[in-house]
Assembly symmetry: C2
Homo-oligomer: 316 residues x 2
């Protein structure tokens, strides 16, 4: 490093730090020009590019006293890669904007970048560009590009008679967040699920190939995200509470906090599990859990009735 | 509007405001799926996609008491579109992340979006996605995608013997910023140049077709950005001070502030003028001003000597 180990961003200087950061990001073969010019240059084939963007704001989406820089890097990448997963696509390229206080340790930024790069390596995507600037709190802006070979799976394709199915852990991150919010650090498996979600990156393409009619990644909350499918598709969705296995750590947290553990599953986001609809129950691929049904109408119900627990996350 | 005229973001609610914002962004024919799904879907042809990202932080890159929301929208779009211009490309698609305080007037966000959309319409680019979330200060994250038909023009192609040339107003935004910083509002033409830069959007492609060997948009400062070309290309650049016409408003500000007006031109950024090198003086297209020469060596000089004024912007 061209700056001392305990340097701040101000000590390290923008250009010194950027060259250290860039060195952490290997470039795929499709990247003709990586970070360092006015823009990156990517080779694309005829077809469709999918693109999505997300902001993470310190104190709102993450806390530096709860999560390590590396955890936050993993999570910032994961939640964006997951959006491409939910289209049935393959993520190829990302950009990162990092705004941070001048007294932030440069090591924090480097650890963040390491975590981000590690998460991207799980799907073979490259960090092709970015921006680094000053702000009072850490703000992370990520944009992800991906390719879709078949038709992308939208939120709007669910039809009456479809089966609703879920892939991946659901409610674990919410359980972990509830634990952290009360000042506890265990069950560690839930806290870890919050800090480093593990989106099922291959499940999106498998669902697309199996004929999924609609798909979304669960980031606002299972019922809230089911609601996004319902409203985009113009259908009603009924979720079956008995379909969910309530994992032992969620039962433990429910008992400790005096809460119904089902609320973590139905209201929790940020595990980046996938929720999709399939034209019939037999089309649901292996590993997906059938959790509901699609009918004519509108809105989301649980076992036929309105749910009176928390249904998800609002940003304001 | 589904919310009162004087509503805050918190009053308007995330989803109500998003639908109002999305309505302000017309979608080009290449946009198969626009805002509202997990990701946008864009049609691309075989070739190269260029991508760039920028953050704008309140108090650092803009002040809400100096610039209207619409001005800030124009500027946020302009500085990103300019990066594609500097590659010799054509901007096609942008994403916006907006983090803002819950008590920000919803009208501010809508005016910002109007300014952003207006600037994008100058080049026919579409806003295809975004994210809206809460933060203490306004932070704007923009990513822009573009296409390049010929070879993109990088920073690294300048060769000894090349001619350095400039296209567009240069130093006006810096003059306007200096004026605002002293509490004045005139010369209005400079203040307006700061609030709403007017990047020469067609000049990048013209330069690429004319065989430009290197190109950059002036955003850090003319000498600083010449330095980026020099270091990426492994050459020395000499800038000729006498080449610049010092416009009357810059002379007036220099006299009023007791400053050499040349320092706005040499040190100023944010006009998003273009600086490029051409293999010989005759290759420089119409409208470009020849401002220097490229030689073997390294670094940037002014009339053969090190420049002792401000050379540009540092972020930390």
């Amino acid at each position: 490093m061209p700056f001392p180990h305990d340097a701040t961003l101000a000590d390290a200087g923008e250009f010194g730090l950027i060259s250290e950061l860039v060195a952490l990001f290997p470039q795929g073969e499709h990247v003709l020009v990586g970070p360092g010019d006015d823009a990156a240059v990517l080779r694309v084939r005829n077809g469709h590019v999918v693109v999505s963007t997300d902001l993470l704001v310190e104190g709102n989406h993450f806390r530096r006293d709860w999560s390590s820089a590396e955890d936050i890097g993993h999570r910032a990448a994961a939640q964006n890669l997951s959006d491409i997963n939910a289209m049935g696509g393959r993520a190829t390229s990302l950009t990162i904007g990092l705004a941070a206080p001048a007294d932030l340790p440069a090591a924090w930024a480097l650890d963040f970048a390491r975590g981000f790069a590690d998460e991207c390596s799980l799907v073979g995507a490259s960090v092709v560009g970015g921006d680094l600037t000053r702000s009072d709190k850490v703000v992370i802006a990520v944009t992800v590009l991906g390719s879709v070979t078949a038709s992308p799976v939208l939120r709007s394709g669910a039809r009456p008679g479809d089966t609703l199915a879920l892939f991946g852990r659901q409610g674990w991150a919410a359980g972990g967040l509830a634990v952290l919010g009360r000042g506890f650090r265990s069950p560690k498996v839930l806290v870890d699920a919050y800090k480093r979600p593990e989106p099922p990156y291959d499940a999106g393409r498998v669902a697309a190939e199996a004929g999924a009619t609609a798909m979304i990644d669960v980031s606002d909350g299972l019922l809230a995200d089911a609601g996004h499918i319902a409203s985009a598709s113009g259908v009603a969705i009924d979720v079956h509470a008995a379909a969910f296995d309530i994992a032992e750590p969620l039962q433990a947290v429910g008992a400790a906090l005096g809460a119904d553990p089902l609320q973590f599953i139905l209201g929790g986001g940020e595990d980046h599990s996938l929720l999709a609809t399939f034209p019939d129950a037999l089309a649901v691929p292996t590993g997906w859990l059938r959790v509901g049904t699609v009918a004519e109408g509108s809105g989301v119900t649980v076992d036929g009735a309105e749910y009176d627990g928390p249904t998800g996350w609002t940003h304001f």
